[in-house]
């Protein structure tokens, strides 16, 4: 019926907006709420046009109170809605932490399944945009450490659409982390036939390689792809796995890759100590120990509060730091 339209470049921001729009159009239970999401369309314009199309009740500006927003969304979900909450920036989700940890993550379990919370919490996260303090945190470690939550993050335009649709369709609460420095990244993408809803929980091999595996997600995927290109000059053929979902974790895809390459580096912006990489390295090692030629290494943000804009380039995992880590994978031992 629909004429096939060729894929055109679209930004991740556009794909996210489109996902929200389609979800709202498909299901009247989907409601968006948050600070500035209505008239303004959000500070990143992800909710642009939704209030105009669906009314301010379906895309509602709230008072400035994150615990109140998330708490109200819990009540809305209890009544059968599918709220999509926007937290304005990563660090401004912290005031809602109690609602998240004590209610959002626990309500289904508490009630033996009687009160599921089909709730999506969109959080723009990560740095690299020159944001001042509190605007560049990578807080996924907190969410990973909270059973009852799904934690998902796209790295491509297509996944932004597919994963957000999947998050909204999920009957469980999903923390949906949007890599804010990729908002304006472009990809060929066909908005007339958007990518199918991605199942949550599947990693994907973004680049095949045989020397070592880079395990990464969100904003660091592009950096790893760049590193993999650069690594060719050093004679390394790197595989890049985009985790896409931190919870559930796709051990299968990850371990298949690491078993093949025998070496792995986890790359993320979040802090190293107590960060996501610890879990990832530990579980990969538990499962692939005898396939490993070297310990799984981590390239991550330093264990410091996120730096001011002028210093962030020193903090963020970059190509050189990734290649240095690859170089430390004990290649001598092999030959």
């Amino acid at each position: 019926m629909t004429t096939t339209v060729a894929a055109k470049p679209a930004t991740m921001a556009q794909a996210l907006t489109r996902a929200l729009r389609d979800a709202m159009a498909d299901d009247p239970a989907v409601h968006v709420l948050g600070e500035d999401v209505g008239t303004l369309g959000g500070v990143f314009r992800i909710t642009d046009g939704l209030a105009a199309e669906f009314g301010e009740d379906r895309c509602a500006d709230t008072p400035l109170a994150e615990a109140g927003i998330l708490g109200a969304a819990v009540g809305m979900a209890m009544y059968g809605l599918r709220p999509v909450v926007e937290m304005q920036f990563d660090a401004f989700a912290y005031p809602a932490f109690e609602q998240l940890a004590s209610h959002v993550a626990k309500m289904r379990n508490r009630t033996r399944g009687a009160l599921p919370l089909p709730l999506t919490i969109r959080i723009p996260y990560g740095g690299g945009i020159g944001g001042v303090e509190h605007h560049s945190d990578s807080s996924e470690a907190y969410y990973m450490a909270t059973p009852g939550l799904h934690v998902v993050t796209p790295a491509t335009v297509a996944d932004a659409y597919g994963l957000l649709r999947a998050a909204i369709a999920s009957d469980d609460p999903v923390v949906f982390l949007e890599p804010k420095r990729l908002y304006w990244s472009k990809d060929a993408w066909n908005p007339e036939r958007p990518s199918p809803v991605e199942p949550i929980g599947r990693a994907v091999v973004r680049r095949s390689g045989r020397s070592a595996t880079l395990l990464t997600y969100g904003p660091s995927v592009a950096v790893c792809m760049e590193a993999a290109e650069a690594a060719r000059a050093e004679g390394w053929d790197l595989e890049v796995v985009d985790l896409r979902s931190l919870v559930p974790f796709d051990d299968e895809t990850v371990c298949a890759s690491v078993r093949r390459t025998g070496r792995a580096v986890v790359v993320h912006e979040a802090h190293a100590f107590g960060g996501p990489g610890g879990e990832i390295a530990a579980r990969v090692t538990e499962r692939c120990f005898h396939h490993l030629e070297a310990p799984v290494l981590r390239v991550a943000g330093f264990d410091v509060p996120y730096p001011p804009p002028m210093l962030e380039r020193h903090h963020l995992p970059g190509v050189d730091r990734i290649l240095d880590a690859v170089g430390r994978l004990q290649w001598e031992a092999e030959s």
Partner: protein
């Protein structure tokens, strides 16, 4: 660049929107809490309501006593008694219609069962076999909320969602005096007022947050005075006067249902028992204060009026007492049965579908349980000749 340079352009006038957006006067609580019992207004109270309240209060008090007794027998992990506060508990449940929702705080088991939840299911949390023992949707009763005040935004969201869908639903949310200090209280009331959500907030001011007396909790003229700061009416009521509490809450529910928005009700009452069976109230308060409040007992207040009107017949007294005893006996009996437990439930409801790593952990536990069962069997077999010791606890 300075203003002076552009002076011609300026015609200072008072800016717009300076009038109060809402008239504060009607939002302020009266100086005296609302009372019915012991006043002339009592004569107008419906006899059927008085008797209904009485029966429920008597049963409620009996429930408190029975539940406290069950803690001593090790059948409940802990019990926060609402003795002395039965009027609030019962009225909160009775004012609600079929489709309305109740959002109780951790002390409000009485309100939960007065709403129709099975008394044993209402105790699941405190017994320790699961967290919430009833289906919240079946009874329109949210889980008893342990983190204080955190359930208030839920009530607002639910009421708002219902209203957006054109449903005629009111949410009544309960919180203690201590809970009013939490940020979630503030955020919930503000959202409710801005959204004009059909919510009634009932603060049971029972004088204490565990050991902390009201004077260390707030310096406000009353907790009901907080309402004006959100733009909703604040009402003060004698929380031990069941008829007055019922009246004020019923008014607030009607107001909310009619689209009038939320109300904050402060009920002045007293926690006659210690915080829980595990608490020692003598550490922080004197008997005298407790005695003063015992003389303002909700049941006694109601019985005075019933007696005055000749409604407290032998029959009524007997029925109320018998009903209470029947409930207590049933509760005792059922709580003395061991709870049915399935350790695999740990994994069943974390997500709609267990994640792969939860499935691994589930398999681990299943294997452990099988090994345990085998060991028990082996031990039982061996018992014919010698005594086996089965270890308990996380071994």
């Amino acid at each position: 660049m300075t203003v002076m340079e552009q002076r011609g352009a300026y015609r200072p006038t008072p800016p717009p929107a300076w009038q109060p957006r809402t008239d504060p006067a009607p939002l302020l609580p009266d100086a005296e809490p609302h009372r019915v019992l012991g006043t002339d207004a009592a004569a107008g109270a419906d006899p059927a309501l008085l008797l209904r309240l009485h029966a429920e209060l008597v049963k409620g008090r009996r429930y408190n006593a029975q539940a406290t007794a069950l803690t001593k027998q090790g059948r409940l992990a802990v019990y926060p008694s609402s003795t002395g506060q039965e009027a609030c508990e019962i009225a909160a449940a009775l004012v609600l219609g079929e489709r309305d929702w109740l959002f109780p705080s951790y002390r409000d088991t009485l309100a939960v069962i007065a709403r129709g939840v099975d008394p044993v299911e209402a105790l699941t949390l405190l017994r320790g076999d699961w967290h919430t023992g009833y289906d919240p949707r079946e009874h329109r009763v949210a889980p008893l909320s342990t983190p204080l005040a955190t359930q208030l935004p839920h009530a607002v969201g639910l009421a708002h969602a219902a209203r957006l869908q054109g449903d005629d639903v009111v949410a009544l949310a309960m919180v203690g005096d201590g809970g009013t200090s939490e940020g979630d209280f503030h955020e919930a009331l503000n959202f409710a007022a801005v959204w004009q959500a059909p919510v009634v907030f009932l603060v049971q001011n029972n004088g204490f947050a565990i050991s902390v007396p009201l004077a260390k909790q707030t310096a406000a003229p009353s907790l009901a005075h907080k309402a004006v700061g959100y733009g909703m009416p604040g009402r003060l009521v004698d929380g031990n006067d069941a008829v007055a509490v019922h009246e004020v809450l019923a008014d607030a529910v009607r107001h909310a249902r009619a689209g009038g928005g939320p109300t904050l009700v402060e009920a002045l009452t007293y926690r006659v028992d210690a915080h829980t069976n595990a608490d020692d109230a003598t550490r922080y308060r004197g008997d005298e204060e407790v005695e003063t409040w015992r003389r303002h007992d909700p049941i006694a207040l109601l019985e005075e009026e019933l007696t005055r009107r000749g409604l407290l017949t032998e029959d009524a007294v007997r029925t109320a007492r018998e009903d209470a005893e029947t409930m207590a006996a049933d509760l005792r009996a059922r709580m003395n049965e061991d709870a049915r437990l399935d350790p695999m439930d740990l994994f069943a409801h974390v997500y709609a579908e267990p994640t792969p790593h939860l499935r691994e952990q589930r398999d681990l536990l299943r294997a452990e349980l099988a090994a345990e069962a085998e060991a028990v069997e082996a031990a039982q077999a061996a018992e014919t000749t010698e005594t086996a010791v089965i270890t308990e606890g996380p071994r």
